[in-house]
């Protein structure tokens, strides 16, 4: 037993060999704040927010990238720890322009949460000069990159390279010139980017946000409804962010099967077809001269039923055939085949599985 225990805030806590302090602590019920840590990717220790005190160590250690050893004594809640974390938050705040009022991520920002938690009311360090901040890049239809809010945590780089492996995003330049770049510092749409938006999904601040969602609703105004993607057969789990009965944004359900927090360009960004003005809104009946006229449900349904009855009477039920929809819900296909078999009396029911 001894070699799988460490001391967390004075309490014996189990860990798995090779586990980092962060994960072992979270398993032990102690939450350590993070900005750069990304589950499933190699820890980088970039943001220094997860600093903890380790007895015997010369300095504070990053919990995300320090492996636990047997008997190690770790403190996550000391004055020294909080002082260091607060200082790091202050430095990050000064490294850009974090004006929450004008930020799409307001209410959905880990940096904002930390600034609030540490009761930071004024900036301790001068903010970076606007002229030193890379300009906003939003030449593509879906993703806004606001470098004034980028804390260089590298989560987008890791998500792009280690999770979805599209290899479009990387760290560019050095020191104070550092910048997250795509395709040798090109706009997203000139790079390898396939607009899966995983970078937006993992961004802890407002540096990467969904262009289509801008101004449509703050995090606290929206309700999340879980559903299944309407495109390919993978069955990705999505959160629909709803404000006033309207979808304003789609994100992935973290840890859900089968997609484990991932979506593609269609699943994440191609949701607003439902609001198209082209939608069919009333039943339509063809007129003698070829055009269509609007009709009531009663008139249209009566016509369909009468016409089917007439065909059955004259030509038999097998003179009617139907094709169901592989996009619609199971219950719709069930009803349609039941209509054909039990009501019309034919097995002439199929769908596009074969074509």
């Amino acid at each position: 037993m001894e070699d799988t225990l460490f001391i967390l805030n004075g309490k014996e806590t189990p860990f798995k060999p090779g586990q980092m302090i962060l994960e072992a602590a979270r398993n032990g019920g102690i939450e350590i704040p993070t900005l750069c840590y990304l589950k499933g990717a190699a820890p980088t220790g970039a943001c220094r927010i997860c600093l903890v005190e380790v007895k015997g160590a010369r300095s504070l250690m990053a919990a995300c990238s320090t492996p636990v050893s047997p008997g190690m004594e770790v403190f996550t809640d000391t004055e020294q720890v909080h002082k260091a974390r607060k200082l790091n938050v202050e430095l990050l705040l000064a490294a850009g322009r974090h004006n929450c009022l004008m930020c799409e991520a307001n209410g959905n920002c880990r940096l904002q949460d930390l600034a609030y938690f540490y009761k930071i009311t004024k900036l301790q360090f001068p903010e970076k000069e606007l002229s030193d901040i890379y300009p906003v890049e939003d030449e593509n239809p879906f993703i806004v990159r606001d470098f004034s809010r980028c804390i260089l945590c590298g989560r987008c780089v890791q998500a792009c390279n280690e999770l979805v492996v599209n290899r479009a995003i990387s760290q560019g330049y050095r020191g104070s010139e550092s910048k997250i770049v795509t395709g040798g510092d090109q706009p997203y749409n000139n790079s390898e980017c396939v607009f899966c938006g995983q970078c937006v999904e993992v961004c802890p601040t407002g540096a990467l946000t969904e262009k289509k969602a801008r101004g449509l609703g703050r995090a606290w105004e929206t309700q999340k409804i879980r559903t299944t993607c309407p495109y390919c057969g993978v069955g990705c789990q999505q959160w629909l962010h709803i404000k006033d009965g309207r979808i304003v944004k789609v994100t992935a359900v973290e840890d859900a099967q089968p997609n484990q927090g991932r979506l593609c360009v269609k699943g994440r960004f191609a949701y607003d077809f439902i609001y198209s003005e082209d939608r069919l809104k009333t039943p339509l009946i063809r007129e003698a001269e070829g055009g269509f006229r609007e009709a009531s449900w009663d008139e249209a349904l009566d016509l369909v039923a009468e016409k089917f009855k007439e065909i059955i009477k004259k030509n038999g039920p097998d003179a009617i055939a139907g094709v169901s929809c592989a996009r619609s819900i199971n219950e719709d296909s069930y009803q349609m085949q039941k209509l054909f078999r039990a009501v019309i009396g034919t097995n002439n029911i199929d769908h596009c599985a074969r074509t």
């Binding site: 495109y231 629909l240 069919l280 009617i320 055939a321």
Partner: protein, 529 residues
């Protein structure tokens, strides 16, 4: 070890592809068998660029090596399968050299594939429509199964034969019995007991006992007058079926065509009645994914105007034809009918679908669902059947008049006929038009430059489309999608079908490409100046 055959996952199933790439980063081997150099090839240990439609010959060649070099799983074959001797005799007719001559890859590469596959266990095989959309689609699928059984890979996690289904609920539509030969849960309509069960449940006097028509035969029936009434629910047949001129002739011939959809489409133009339906996020219900996972779909917005849920529309028509159905929402339909009538879904109730859904078969309410079928090689049908299969070429092969092969599929940014993605803001910016993807060699032979409008012509039609010169496509191949109406590949595709499934040969027909006559080379140069 992952073997991908006829599947362009990064574009057609992007999220599934991310897990393949993760596996490669984690050390898995990847073999991609595809005529095109698809994006996953960048991650592959081996790309096997077989000729379009040569899958059976290639796989027979691989199996020839596995048997000749004693690399197959004898124990598995003996205890879990039947038909080995017939298979052995057949694949002995396909030594690597012969398979190589048909498939266009070297005999050495075929040997290497076999040896690599035999070196890791289990190996997972994934395929998509590159396997099924051929006149020999069924044989292609069975060849994949042959290979995986010979390697002893069926019935294990990270093994098996895994088709990636192209649409969100194509699995579910099959499960629900939207097929001419089976009731929900694959219970055959020509089985008297099954019929009796459904007859009682649906409270009707009788149910039809002979399997119905498959879609292509239905469409033909419209032209011969055999089919008078045609009900098309959520399908844009006028763009998705092969040979659009012919398809539109069929639709035009319908005496009474009902279309139920969320948008006006090229197909609804032919309708006599159009019924407006609620869309994806306007319904409560379930989709079933490729991995047989039944997932919830939830209502998030209201349908526009008077659009109604599809299940309600069917119920109303049934009511007007003298049948009063009880279930009044999707949950009642599933819980009280579907899961009661389909034994493999008996354990799946809405109350159990709150989180990650359930994978069928789940025969009882305490069953956790089934992730892997045919567990440990114990096939649901008893023993796995190895089947001797001969290669046949595509129905239409290149000749002097039409010297190139056209193969078709989907691209990342659009989906099918763009009824949805074409109306989602931003998507059209990323992919505004169709292209004919051709090799540099074929382009050069015709003096075609990248981005130039060209003619692609088959025996069925001709389209004007922008040429895209790419190293993805080998010499002799033209590749197009069916997303855009004007340059839709289905003006060109060949309406020939697998004899069993009636799946059309979208993946192979003969075409020619030419510079557009209207714009001669000289004019083109003028324009550039």
């Amino acid at each position: 070890m992952i073997l991908i055959v006829g599947s362009n996952m990064t574009e057609a199933h992007p999220v599934a592809a991310t897990f393949v790439k993760d596996a490669v980063l984690g050390g898995a081997q990847l073999i991609v068998v595809d005529p095109r150099r698809t994006d996953l090839v960048d991650f592959a240990n081996l790309h096997v660029p077989i000729k379009v439609g040569s899958d059976v010959a290639f796989i027979n060649g691989v199996m020839n090596v596995l048997i000749s070099e004693n690399l197959y799983d004898k124990k598995y074959v003996e205890s879990c399968t039947i038909g080995f001797e017939e298979l052995r005799q057949k694949v002995m007719e396909y030594p690597p050299e012969r398979a190589a001559a048909i498939s266009g890859v070297s005999a050495e590469m075929i040997r290497e594939v076999a040896r690599r596959l035999a070196s890791v266990k289990p190996a997972m095989l994934m395929y998509t429509l590159g396997i099924t959309e051929h006149v020999c689609g069924v044989n292609n699928v069975m060849s994949c199964a042959n290979l995986q059984m010979l390697l002893g890979n069926v019935g294990f996690e990270c093994g098996g034969v895994n088709p990636l289904r192209g649409q969100n609920n194509v699995q579910g539509a099959c499960d629900m019995g939207a097929l001419p030969n089976v009731f929900p849960g694959y219970q055959r309509v020509d089985n008297e007991q099954a019929r009796e069960k459904f007859r009682k449940a649906w409270k009707v006097k009788s149910l039809p006992d002979k399997p119905g028509l498959m879609m292509p035969t239905m469409m033909e029936g419209l032209t011969t007058g055999k089919i008078k009434g045609f009900y098309v629910f959520g399908e844009n047949l006028a763009n998705t079926e092969p040979d659009i001129h012919h398809v539109e002739h069929c639709l035009q011939s319908a005496e009474f065509l009902v279309c139920q959809d969320i948008f006006p489409t090229e197909t609804t133009r032919f309708a006599h009645v159009i019924l407006p339906a609620a869309a994806w996020s306007e319904n409560d219900g379930t989709f079933t994914s490729s991995e047989r996972r039944v997932n919830r779909v939830r209502t998030a917005s209201v349908p526009p105007g008077e659009a109604k849920p599809n299940w309600w529309i069917f119920k109303e028509i049934a009511g007007r034809m003298g049948h009063k159905w009880k279930s009044a929402n999707a949950r009642e339909i599933w819980d009280n009918e579907v899961s009661v009538l389909a034994p493999s879904l008996a354990g799946i109730k809405y109350s159990r679908l709150e989180n990650d859904g359930l994978q069928w078969p789940a025969p009882s309410e305490d069953h956790p669902g089934t992730a892997t079928l045919h567990k440990d090689g114990c096939f649901t049908c008893g023993l796995g059947v190895l089947k001797a299969i001969d290669w046949i070429p595509p129905a239409e092969v290149p000749d002097e008049d039409y010297p190139l092969v056209l193969s078709t599929g989907r691209r990342l940014y659009h989906y099918h006929t763009r009824t949805q993605t074409g109306r989602s803001s931003g998507i059209n910016e990323l992919l505004p038009e169709e292209t004919a993807d051709i090799s540099a060699a074929d382009a050069e032979a015709k003096g075609i430059v990248d981005g130039e409008m060209i003619s692609v012509k088959s025996r069925r039609g001709e389209v004007a489309v922008k040429a895209r010169i790419t190293r993805q496509v080998p010499q002799g191949l033209v590749w197009m999608a069916f997303h855009f109406r004007e340059a839709c590949a289905n003006w060109l595709t060949n309406p020939v079908y697998d004899p069993v499934t009636q799946t059309a040969e979208y993946k192979a027909c003969a075409v020619r490409i030419d510079k557009l006559k209207a714009m001669t080379l000289a004019e083109n140069e003028c324009n550039e100046v």
